[in-house]
Structures are given as C-alpha cells and as structure tokens.
C-alpha cells in the first residue's frame, strides 16, 4: 500500500507524463492571465501618449540587470534538469540552489527599485501607468516567489535522490516566468 503509486501519476492517456501535463495546463491558464494583462496595457499605452512621460521614469539599467539575472537562472534550471535526467540528484539540487539564488537576487533588486520609485512618489495610485507597472511586475514577482519556494522543496528531495522528474517540472514553470519577464522588460523599460 505504502509504495503503490496513485493511478493519477502512473496512467497517461495522452502519452505525456501526468505531472508535466499538469504544468502545461497551468501555463496555458497563465498565458491568459499575463497575456490579458499585457494586452490591455499595450492598448492603454497606445491610447495614452502622455504615459511616455511616466514611463520615462523607469530605470532601464535596473530592468536590464534583472533580465540578465533571470536569463541566467533559466540556464541553471535547464542544467539542473539535465543533471536530473542523468540521475545526478545532488548536482541537480545544487543547480536548483543557484536558480533560487537568482530568484532571490531578482527580488532584492526589485525591492530596491520599488523602494526608490515609491520614495519619489511613483506609487501604484500615482496614475494608470504606475498602476499597470506595479500590477504586472508585482504579479510576476509573486510567480518568482512561488517558483523559488517550490524549487526549494524539489531541490530538498532531489538532493536525496527522490522525485527527480520534478526537477524538469519546476524548470518548465521557471522558464515560463522567464518568458513573461522577456516581454515585461521591453514593455516597461525599453519601449518608452
């Protein structure tokens, strides 16, 4: 009884492992959440030329550093997956640890950035541009926090050689968080 795997994790009508199928389903719903938010932002931005003034206050180099951090963390996440496939749980856990470090770096930079902006009066209620700015980047940051926590759990198991397939699953999620930022960066920091 104790070692019998539940049907839901052992059966697969689609030919896709159930866990991975679940992650893709989550991401399919995330596409609508982030896509809808960014789509509406783009429409408002096009309809409001005066937002250019507000947008000019975002700090490109801070966004750029965070882009670099996330791209690098995606790289370590995929290397963790590669190590897990080779059955090297310890290496996978270490690489996931580096990815978590990337997530924390991202969050620290974001906190400093926001503290600076809020202290200059650019708060979420300052105007609609800043509302979008904090909503979109904030929702993304929540995903970074969630990803870091889950990666910690997965790394804990992987280090002991358990549930190595989960390294791929959290990796797929993490790359998606990276992809969202790949679009947020030009929207909020480059195309002013």
């Amino acid at each position: 009884m104790g070692h019998a795997r539940p049907l839901a994790t052992s059966r697969s009508a689609t030919g896709i492992p159930t866990g991975r199928l679940a992650v893709w389903w989550i991401l399919a719903s995330e596409v609508v959440i982030f896509g809808g938010l960014l789509g509406v932002y783009i429409m408002h931005r096009l309809g409001h030329p005066e937002w250019a003034e507000a947008a000019s206050h975002t700090q490109t180099w801070v966004g750029a550093i965070n882009t670099f951090v996330l791209l690098t963390s995606s790289f370590t996440a995929v290397l963790a997956h590669q190590a897990a496939e080779k059955g090297d749980g310890k290496k996978a856990a270490k690489l996931l640890g580096m990815t978590i470090l990337g997530a924390l770096t991202f969050l620290v930079i974001k906190s400093l950035e926001w503290t600076n902006e809020i202290s200059h009066g650019y708060t979420i209620t300052a105007n609609t541009f800043w509302s979008f700015y904090y909503t979109a980047a904030g929702l993304h940051a929540l995903h970074v926090i969630a990803g870091a926590i889950i990666m910690g759990v997965v790394a804990f198991d992987a280090y002991r050689g358990r549930e190595l397939h989960r390294v791929e699953l959290i990796g797929i999620y993490w790359h998606f968080v990276d992809v969202v930022w790949i679009f947020l960066f030009p929207l909020l920091y480059i195309a002013k």
Partner: protein, 238 residues
Amino acid sequence: MSENNEHQGDGHDGGHHVNYFGIYITLIILFLISVAGPEVGDRFGLHWLTLVTAFGIALVKANLVINNFMHLRWEKKLMKWVLATSVILMLLMVAGISPDVLNHEGRNWQNLAAQAAVERGLGGDDHGEGEGATVAEGAAEAAPAGFSAASSFGTVCATCHGAGGQGDGPAGAALTPPPANFTDPAFWEGRDRDRVVTVIRDGAAAVGGSALMAPWGALYTEEQLEQVADYVMSFRPN
C-alpha cells in the same frame, strides 16, 4: 543558432542534445542588442528600430526559451494545440475589447476620463491651444498654468451635473439617484467645501453617497481639486 536535435520527435524523455550554453549565450547577446536598440535608435532618429529590437527580439528570445529550455518542440502535438488555443483565445479577447480601449470616442460615446487624462498629460509641455488645455503631468508643486476650473467643470462634471450645475446634464437624465443640483439650497444643508473636495477626489461613495459620482482625484492636483470645488461652490444660492 547552435543546437542540434538528434532525437527530434521521438517522444522520449531526456536525451535532448541541446547546446544549452550556446542557447544561453545567444539569449544574452540578443538581450544586449535589445538594450542597445533605443540608444542607437535615438542617435539616428530611428524610432522604429527600438520597436524592432525591443519586441522582435523578445519574440525570438521567448521562442528560444520555449523550444530549447522548456523542450516544447519535443512535446506531443496535443500540448502545443492546448497552448495555442490559450494564446488564440487571449488574443481574441484583447482584439475584442481593443476598439473600446484604444479609442476614446465612438459614434455614441465618449470616454471623458481618458480624454481628460490625455489632455492633462500633454497639455502643459507643447501647446496651449484648445479649451481646457491644462497642466503638465505630476506637476503638483508647480503653478497650474492654463488650468481653468470652469472649463474642467464643463468637460468633466457638466455631462451629468449640467453646465449650470442644476443636475440636468445629458448623461444624468438616466441616473438614479439623479445627479446633485448645486443650485438647490436643500442640497447644501450639512455640506461644506471640504466635503465637496473629498467627493470630487474620492467619489461620493467615500462619504456614504451614491457610487455613480465617481472619484476624479486622478485628474487633478490637490490645488486644482480645490479650484474645482470652489467652482462648484459658486453655484450655491445665498
């Protein structure tokens, strides 16, 4: 791009011989180009270049990550269709609401708040034409040159409250409760200037009134709020 894919489409887990480091370096190079884009674009006056380097490169980068890091290209067709459906439905939604969001007026409607926000945002820095041309964005401390409470009332408030403040604006006829009549002495019982400022800024619901009186605080600086409130007070019969 520097990857090879010997196991393409075999449906097995693992064994994707992707040159991850090569993909990573490609991503970093693309990222550097997207940051440099606006610098080059500004220098040569090529603003389209910024759009290409910003969003074109974002698409290429996303594609690289999705296919090589998330391994979507080795995934079953079913999953690609599920994701594609999600993207298509999302784009349909965005396209569906775009006429109402992108435009600020149509045949039978006007988005007064959006028009006023654009006018206010652009008004101060390059032109002073047009009635109600107002102030530069965020200039709370600056003297609100060109701001006129009367013309702002005409643009924003008169739609419901009427140009004469009698609560008889065209958009107000259908509202329940009807818009306040500022010329009615009974209306002013128990109401002072502070309350008028609060209601304009935060909406009537903030003081227990009707939510139909929306908050307009985003349109005005504190100083302008007081000017508009004074204008409203001017309707008060003595």
